[in-house]
């Protein structure tokens, strides 16, 4: 055997061995469940085939900025109180700027200096006199806004991970999309509303006092769970940050969520309950008052409970979100998809039979039309399909429904390359070339057309991958990898076949 042929045969066999190695996990998925234990993973099914929930959330970063500003407002209020400068109210205007209204305009400069000194990230915009009062307006620089948003995004993803982990689903996927979106996929889950309750709620927990006299300043109206309005103080005494753990407890048929507070929370709670014995303390989650028990005595052991006529399931979900912590910003679902468990199975079955039927038609045509050379093309097509699946596994790609279509289509397009070569060889034979010369010229001259044809397909597939959405990206992946395996099979494998096998028929070459 000629050394060139021998070397190429070795390369070919090596590529087959490599493909087999890549495919081991796909054939024995049970033994390769953990990532990283092998160089490839079993080919996973996309959500459109496995069934499950797909959500894309928009993270409302502006709200994160607003809520940070309001937190700042509270600490400014406290700082100014120490200087005995009374703050009448704080809030945000329509442009998202912070407004601090001082009860009197006599010590304005002092207040401004204090704020400038302690809150360097706030920019003074304007002071608006209002009779005796004065309103100071502050803004945050664009750079700081962006910083807050970036942090909010990072914390959102972290919190979602925590929450999703507690949901107990195999292989959930949480992915940042662009600068302000999160994609979440949970295979096998059907109840999208439950997912949204656990994953998508902000879960801002607050403890506020109920005012003893209604209608005075420093109060806001909220609603309880049945929608009845209820007045609460406008300042939160304690928030969800003080919660260390949360669990469900059922006592004499009453479902409650028990909160254990961290040391800081325990101290704060002791102070609150000592100073306000006899008053009602509202427990508020996402601006809804869950309960407002009376404080009978100081609570020192650092635990609190939320009751409110829960169902067990509801209480469990609430405990999860409280454990995982609040989101820095509200989430808005911009894409929600659920796929039932049966749809995918039907799709896989019909998709695979469609591929096989198309493949059989191609095989028959090639063998009838190109005889032994056609059989070689069919062999190279088999290798192509095999390598394609192996590389999908090596890249850890998931198979989607359009991806299956991509697989079938790749086989149909791959055989084109063989046809281009074969027709060229026939032309050379007609022009009187001998067998080897015709084969050699056929491959050499067809080479550029094959490359061009596959490059343009690759170009389209790559564009589709970057600009397409959802399962069609799976199609782009199969098509792209298919282009690579096709070039290899058409140029290298088929050529090797011609060099290795006589492929004789009635004439010197059966083509």
């Amino acid at each position: 055997m000629d050394t060139s042929v021998r070397n190429r045969l070795i390369v070919f066999l090596a590529s087959l061995v490599l493909a087999v190695v890549f495919l081991i996990p796909t054939f024995f998925p049970d033994k390769f469940t953990d990532r990283g234990s092998w160089i490839s993973r079993p080919i996973g099914l996309g959500l459109d085939l496995s069934g499950g929930v797909h959500l894309v959330y928009q993270v409302e970063g502006d709200e994160a900025v607003n809520s940070q500003l309001l937190t700042k407002a509270n600490s400014i209020r406290a700082d100014l109180r120490e200087l005995k400068i009374p703050v009448l109210k704080t809030g945000l205007d329509s442009k998202g700027q912070l407004e601090i209204t001082l009860a009197s305009n006599r010590r304005t400069e002092e207040a401004k200096n204090k704020i400038a000194e302690a809150y360097s990230d706030l920019n003074f915009v304007d002071s608006v006199p209002d009779g005796e009062r004065i309103r100071l307006v502050y803004s945050v620089s664009e750079l700081n806004r962006e910083k807050i948003k970036t942090q909010a995004m990072a914390r959102t993803i972290e919190t979602l991970r925590n929450r999703v982990d507690q949901f107990g689903v195999a292989e959930p996927l949480i992915q940042k999309v662009g600068s302000d979106r999160v994609m979440l996929q949970m295979p096998g889950v059907q109840d999208i509303e439950a997912v949204k309750r656990v994953v998508g709620s902000v879960a801002k927990l607050e403890f506020r006092l109920i005012p003893t006299v209604t209608g005075t300043a420093g109060q806001v109206m909220m609603k309880d769970r049945s929608g009845v309005p209820i007045a609460v103080e406008d300042q939160a005494l304690m928030t969800g940050d003080s919660v260390d753990n949360a669990r469900v407890s059922v006592e004499s048929g009453q479902v409650e969520v028990m909160l254990s507070l961290n040391s800081e929370g325990t101290r704060a709670f002791r102070k609150i309950t000592t100073e306000n014995t006899g008053r009602q303390l509202a427990i508020i989650l996402d601006n809804t008052v869950y309960s407002h028990p009376s404080i009978r005595e100081p609570i020192t052991q650092g635990s609190a409970s939320i009751s409110g006529g829960f169902k067990i399931e509801e209480a469990t979900q609430l405990a999860i979100v409280l454990r995982a912590g609040a989101l820095p910003a509200p989430l808005k679902a911009i894409e929600e998809r659920t796929v039932g468990p049966t749809l995918g199975k039907e799709s896989i079955r019909s998709g695979i039979s469609a591929i096989l039927i198309g493949f059989v038609a191609i095989v028959l045509f090639m063998i009838v039309y190109y005889q032994k050379s056609g059989a070689l093309a069919v062999f190279s097509l088999f290798i192509n399909g095999f390598l394609l699946i192996a590389f999908l596994s090596a890249f850890g790609a998931t198979l989607t429904l359009p991806g299956i279509a991509g697989l079938g289509l790749t086989l149909g397009m791959a055989v084109d390359s063989n046809v281009i070569v074969f027709e060229r060889i026939r032309e050379e034979l007609r022009n009187g070339a001998g067998r080897d010369a015709a084969v050699s010229a056929g491959f050499d001259r067809a080479y550029s057309a094959i490359m061009d044809a596959n490059m343009t397909t690759l170009l389209s597939a790559v564009i589709l991958y970057f600009l397409g959405n959802g399962p069609v990206r799976g199609f782009a992946v199969t098509l792209s990898i298919g282009v690579l395996t096709t070039v290899y099979c058409a140029v290298f494998v088929s050529r090797l076949g011609f060099d290795l096998l006589p492929l004789r028929g009635k004439k010197e070459l059966s083509i």
């Binding site: 949204k196 894409e335 591929i355 079938g408 289509l409 046809v419 397909t457 564009i463 600009l467």
Partner: protein
């Protein structure tokens, strides 16, 4: 075995005016369908809204499904479009609503229960927000434009600008006609159609490149040539190749169309039309354009080579 045993002599270029009129009519028809279908030509991927795939069981009929939605007390389903997959008990219900996804789902289940009892199952549900849909639509459009430009640039780089012009016009032609027929049979433009459009763009240029490759080879071989004769000759020489490659790819695409089901059907219908249009446009659109462009720019190809 040979499809065409003797290379024919056909003057494709001279027949071009006729084929151009034919294609122009198809394109006008596409524009008409595009306008006539209004907003409902886009699936929820590109305009936002809700889509549910409902499987009907125990002999429940589409009419009952449609009646169940019409008699529902809510206004949510007023503009609902029901689409059935051929040979399947699965039906897609599509509508837009400002209501929250949770409310919509509850109302739908209530309406179906009232009309069909237990004889249904929701297989799949999709919601896409309107702004997100708009964004996806723009991205899809950008993808198509980028692919067209990308391939034109590639062909210019590998061949000549005159060839790239032929390819660009032919690709536009293929995508427009495939879109027209796709819309005409009642499908809607969605992610699957985008995938198919890009595949058509990437694939249908192949035949054209094979012909151009042949033309280039002959230009280098001959001292003296007439571009028109050369294009005709190349088309004739490559005719069996063009037909065979097209037919083989059609085997795959048709089999996906007939047996694939669901989203695969959308994708493969577009593909089948695109592949056929691609083979036709190679011979009847791309080559004449190259010839005309070159005659207009007075024999640039000839200068290059001599």
């Amino acid at each position: 075995m040979e499809l065409i045993s003797k290379i024919p002599k056909i003057d494709f270029i001279s027949k071009a005016p006729l084929s151009m009129v034919f294609s122009a009519l198809l394109i006008v028809a596409t524009v008409y369908i595009w306008i006539a279908r209004g907003e409902n030509k886009f699936g929820i991927d590109y305009v936002g809204g809700f889509e549910y795939v409902v499987q009907l069981k125990d002999g429940a009929s589409v009419d009952q499904l449609s009646a169940a939605l019409k008699t529902a007390p809510t206004k949510i389903f007023d503009g609902a479009i029901i689409q059935s997959f051929s040979g399947s008990t699965d039906h897609s219900v599509r509508f837009s609503s400002r209501e929250e996804a949770k409310v919509v789902r509850q109302e739908l289940i209530a309406a179906l229960k009232a009309g069909l009892g237990e004889r249904f199952e929701i297989l799949k549900s999709d919601f896409v927000g309107p702004t997100f849909g708009e964004e996806l639509k723009n991205k899809a459009l950008l993808a198509v434009v980028l692919a067209l430009v990308g391939i034109t640039v590639y062909v210019t780089f590998r061949f000549e600008f005159a060839f790239a012009m032929g390819v660009l016009v032919a690709l536009f032609h293929d995508v427009i006609i495939a879109t027209g027929i796709y819309l005409w049979v009642g499908h809607e433009l969605n992610g699957a159609a985008l995938a198919a459009a890009l595949t058509v763009i990437g694939y249908s240029v192949n035949d054209t490149i094979v012909i151009f490759d042949k033309v280039r080879e002959e230009i280098f071989k001959r001292k003296d040539f007439d571009l028109k004769d050369l294009l005709n000759e190349a088309n004739c020489m490559m005719l069996s190749r063009t037909i065979i490659t097209t037919v083989l790819t059609l085997f795959s695409a048709l089999s996906l169309l007939v047996f694939g089901g669901g989203a695969i059907q959308d994708l493969s219908l577009f593909l089948v039309v695109g592949i056929v249009a691609g083979a036709y446009s190679t011979v009847f659109i791309a080559c004449p354009i190259v010839y005309w462009w070159n005659s207009w720019r007075v024999g640039r190809l000839t200068e290059r080579v001599s």
